[in-house]
């Protein structure tokens, strides 16, 4: 395991657009706090954060770069799983997406898996069952185009 977050390819449930997995040298309870307490979120998001970490709770992330997102908490399993939907506060091109954090205790700390998936893509992927293959194809197509250009 490297110290950096890595792209966890080949995972069984990799049906989402972006997935990262990281091993943290901290107990799940500490990681959970860092994910749910706004003043701790602010540090690693480098953003102004408001968050009510309860199902149906709302949130707001205002980045130093001016990026402004509104969030809604979808699911909370204390210490184990947090899922929220967020979307840009302006009329930009960014899609709304679902962000999910899953914590697993490990020998020395916590494994944290983060997935962020654009909502429409997630819906399509669920019906076609083609998620991972689709993403690979998309990348292959793009690389192919770059080579041709």
């Amino acid at each position: 395991m490297t110290e950096h977050a890595r792209d966890a390819e080949g995972s069984q449930d990799a049906d989402t657009a972006v997935r990262r997995e990281i091993e943290l040298d901290a107990a799940p309870a500490d990681v959970w706090e860092a994910l749910t307490r706004p003043e701790l979120l602010e540090q690693w998001f480098e953003a102004e954060v408001e968050l009510d970490p309860r199902p149906g709770g709302t949130g707001r992330f205002i980045g130093a770069d001016g990026e402004h997102r509104v969030a809604r908490v979808d699911e909370v399993e204390e210490g184990r799983r947090l899922a929220l939907t967020w979307w840009p506060d302006d009329e930009g091109d960014e899609p709304a997406s679902k962000v999910e954090f899953v914590l697993t205790p490990t020998h020395g700390g916590t494994r944290l898996v983060v997935t962020e998936s654009p909502l429409t893509a997630r819906a399509c992927v669920a019906t076609t069952g083609a998620g991972w293959a689709w993403r690979l194809e998309l990348l292959v197509l793009t690389l192919f185009l770059l080579v041709r250009a």
Binding site: D7, D25, A34, F45, E46, P95, E116, C124, A130, L139
Partner: protein, 108 residues
């Protein structure tokens, strides 16, 4: 929820047949629906429907040439979808690296 341009690209490319059509257009250059249908196990009508879906996502444009319609791949929006994935991934890389330092400090 409003459907934005990127949503349409994700929807259009979530279908395997449309990816095949897209690839053929990228590979073989502009062509007609009939020519595309010759190389695929489907009718010309079915190909036209897929081309229209790709067109709505801005991935294909249609040009009339006499009695024929030529379809051409316009893949820029596809690049936008990939760009979203790359940008989102890069943001998480940075955030998680900061989180790693943050929680290590707290316990260390």
């Amino acid at each position: 929820m409003k459907e934005d341009p990127l949503d349409r690209v994700f929807i259009a490319l979530a279908d395997g047949t449309r990816r095949t059509v897209m690839r053929q257009l990228l590979d073989g250059g502009p062509t007609t629906a009939s020519e595309l249908a010759d190389g695929l196990p489907m009718t010309r009508q079915a190909v036209v429907k897929h081309l229209q879906a790709l067109g709505q996502a801005g991935l294909v444009d249609a040009q009339r040439a006499g009695r024929e319609v030529h379809y051409r791949a316009t893949p820029k929006p596809m690049g936008d979808a990939v760009a979203w994935m790359l940008r989102t991934g890069a943001q998480w890389d940075k955030r998680l690296e900061r989180l790693r330092r943050q929680v290590s400090q707290r316990t260390g």
